[in-house]
Amino acid sequence: MSGEVAAEFPGLRAEWVSCACVDHRCDGGVGERLALLASRLNGRQALELRQQHVPAAYRSFLRQVGIDPDQQPTPIEQAVLGRLLSGGNLPQDRISDGLLLALLETSVPVVAFDAALTSPPIEVRGAADNELVAGVQVEQGTLILTDSRQPLCQLFSPPQPPLAAGANSDRLLLVAIIVPGVSAIVSDEALTIAAAAISGG
């Protein structure tokens, strides 16, 4: 993390792992696990999720960086809301399914970049004046995710093409943003689940 961000949020960090993605078609096993997770959910559980340790940590962090989690829900709350509205965790493609599985299992959001276009280490820092992030000019101080060469995306915003992993990406860089209060074991689990689901391991 950059000095200012690390001083403000001790414990905030990005962790990453690379994995291969040979086949982009949905995996049957992952689809079954998503369906199983979808069947265990009702409205009360979806609401009470915010009181669990990891979702509460993300919710609290969003508040502290100036995002109202009731207006822009945390990734796990968004995924659960999507499940309630659509009636199930509908399979999309191998990458999306793997990321969703890791999110639902651990509540830790994982994003995927095309490994050929990114170069770790990944860090969080405040944007410079008039800095372009994914082709969009952001306000100075906006928290962004960067690699050693370029800004990747805004914190907690989905990556945009061409940096985002897509159908032509053979090798991915999976990045988990860990907020203060979330232990390393949970983030490791999230990255491991996502990598295994995507690479078919």
Binding site: R50, D68, Q154, L155
Partner: protein
């Protein structure tokens, strides 16, 4: 008797040093801790309100970025306001539920005095979607004879 002795000769250097310079870092940490705590309380209030929904006001949001001390204070104050509103809404709902429970007791004691009154399980704060209603026994015959009773509907079949 206790006595306080003051050494007039003590120099100002020996007095405990109070943080006269503003320690912004400590203030920010304290504010962030308060915000986290308030958010937990607000989450608990939202869960307590289920299946009703709390109408929480949209709080000031301008992120994601490191908030200034003033913005953190504003957010903290807004959360306190929202929590106050949420607790007030819950208290009002509890009063309404108490009144509904009391009415149900009166209905059960004297159904004839509460003809056609209906109270839903939701109004009572009980799960399910059944409805307590005062109805005549044996239809028109009961209505004519004044045979009233309280009946709980089995609720919506879709709810199960």
């Amino acid at each position: 008797m206790a006595a306080l002795l003051i050494d007039q000769s003590a120099s100002s250097e020996l007095l405990p040093s109070f943080a006269l310079t503003p320690n912004e870092g400590a203030a920010r940490r304290a504010l962030r801790a308060q915000i986290a705590q308030l958010d937990r309380l607000l989450s608990a209030a939202s869960c307590e309100a289920f299946p009703d929904r709390l109408d929480l006001p949209a709080l000031p949001a301008r992120g994601p970025r490191i908030q200034s001390l003033g913005e953190l204070e504003l957010l903290r104050d807004s959360l306190i306001g929202a929590l106050g509103d949420a607790r007030e809404a819950l208290a009002v709902r509890e009063v309404d539920r108490g009144a509904a429970r009391e009415l149900l007791e009166q209905m059960l004691l004297d159904p004839a005095k509460h003809r056609r009154v209906r109270i839903s399980q939701r109004e009572l704060g009980v799960g399910g979607c059944g409805v307590w209603s005062v109805m005549p026994r044996l239809g028109p015959m009961g209505r004519l004879m004044g045979w009233w009773r309280v009946k709980l509907s089995s609720g919506c079949p879709l709810a199960t």
